[in-house]
């Protein structure tokens, strides 16, 4: 196992201090994630999934421990724009249309947006939004908005993509469609993806590895390895092995 590591976390602890007492959100987290892997994080509400991702993406300071992103501290990885992020809600700017929203990272990186005209259209095409380039967020459905935000996270071609329950608010069918789109995108570009979800089937379908977390304090209970061949199709959901994994995941989540 001498593959290049995208993310290394050692003995990470995160304690939130407040007047009502301290809350141990993350305790002794250790992870190593290979470059180009698709990793899901799954666990009950409040188990620290989002906090872990916020620590990795430099949105939150750690209490103790060590994090390395692309061989750098989270802060310098962020400043070098090594990673992109998709949030639980799209976070589109309502005064910008789809194209302008996707171009935001380009503007903030100080690059010339005129050089990215084709790329924006390619990306919007990739997330199936052809014909909605000039629409403003309020004119798009929730699923479409989230797809714009995915396009936005890809425009700078980050080597790592953090996705915090990006499809959490969507219905089952839209969600499965977007999962397949996401796999297509990932297969073309091979970023490292860290994907938070509540849904064990979604996690199995997408991932190489699944980090199962447990709450209070937030810990990694088990790492499940998923080795279905890629590219994957919906049919793998009917395989015995898929069902075994699903059962194992559910048992882990229930035995809280």
């Amino acid at each position: 196992m001498s593959r290049i590591k995208s993310i290394i976390v050692k003995k990470l602890n995160k304690v939130f201090e407040s007047k009502s007492g301290n809350f141990e959100a993350l305790s002794d987290i250790n992870i190593e994630i290979n470059k180009g892997d698709f990793i899901s994080i799954i666990g009950p509400s409040g188990c620290g999934k989002t906090t872990l991702m916020r620590c990795l993406s430099n949105l939150e300071d750690t209490t103790s421990g060590f994090i390395e992103i692309n061989g750098k501290t989270p802060d310098s990885a962020r400043k070098d724009r090594d990673f992109g992020m998709v949030f639980q809600t799209s976070g589109l700017l309502s005064w910008r249309n789809s194209i302008e929203n996707v171009l935001l990272p380009i503007e903030l990186a100080g690059k010339d947006k005129n050089n990215y005209k084709n790329k924006v259209n390619e990306l919007l095409d990739l997330v199936n939004l052809k014909g909605f380039e000039k629409n403003y967020p309020e004119e798009l459905s929730g699923g479409m908005q989230q797809r714009v935000s995915i396009a936005r996270s890809l425009i700078l071609e980050p080597q790592i993509l953090f996705m915090d329950e990006p499809f959490g608010a969507l219905d089952h069918i839209t969600r499965e469609k977007l999962n397949i789109e996401l796999l297509n995108i990932w297969e073309k570009r091979k970023q490292t993806i860290i994907f938070i979800t509540h849904n064990i089937r979604e996690a199995i379908f997408l991932s190489d590895q699944i980090l199962v977390m447990t709450s209070n304090p937030g810990k990694i209970k088990k790492i499940l390895t998923v080795d279905f061949e890629r590219p994957r199709s919906d049919e793998i959901k009917n395989l015995e092995k898929f069902k075994d994994l699903e059962l194992e995941g559910e048992t882990l989540l229930k035995s809280e």
């Binding site: 993406s57 430099n58 949105l59 962020r78 400043k79 724009r81 990673f83 992109g84 992020m85 949030f87 809600t89 976070g91 700017l93 309502s94 005064w95 935001l104 990272p105 503007e107 903030l108 990186a109 100080g110 403003y136 309020e138």
Partner: protein, 257 residues
Amino acid sequence: MKKLIESKWFPPIFFLILLFVVWVGSILIFKIPTYLLPSPIKIYKEIAQNLYLFAFNGFWTLVEAVAGYLLGGSFGLLLGSLLAYSKFFERGFLPYVVGATTIPIVAFAPLVIIYVGFGIASKIVIAAIVSFFPLTLYTLKGMQSSDFIHRDLFYVLAASRFNVFIKLQLQSALPYIFTAMKQTSTIAVIAAIIAEYIQADRGFGYLILQSSYVMDIPRMWSAVLFSCVLAMSFYGLVVLVEKKFVWWHSSLKELKI
């Protein structure tokens, strides 16, 4: 009938007509003399016969109000931005800005006239003062009101302080800024008139004061109505500009109940 009630133009016109009916009706029924309350017809005649007089004075009040509004508003926008940009300035200035808003302009205006002089410049400064403080406070508040998710987004994208300011804070502040601009559009007109009460040789404040000395009630009412129309048109203009810039904000969408 239902269509009429739900239409956009009918309700305001309906109540306007109602107002006129009550107005004229009470003058006829209670036999109110003109020197107490003139009828709308009297006021119309007064305006029609003295159109130049009202236009001339209205023009100067408008000039003072608009110039003061733009001047004070611009400085307010700048100071508000500065306070939002720097914690040091916010801590240093904000208590005094808040304190300054409690100064009654009526009490302060005579001083301004003494310092700045008897021309229209002092009226502009007075209108500017009342426009300045709301713009400062609302700009600051607006710039501090950007959504958390957008702040996270800009942080993850390693946006520079300047870009956060221009592309996020200023945009998020626009609804607040326009709230202040709508508020001060009418206040600036009032401030100009108050300033003219204190000392002036033109403007609605001057006209109303002069007419009051000779108990010319129809002329006073006409000037009052004209001032309202002036302030409302100014307000309406700002609303139009607002629609152009912040159409995307929820405050401009109808509430569904």
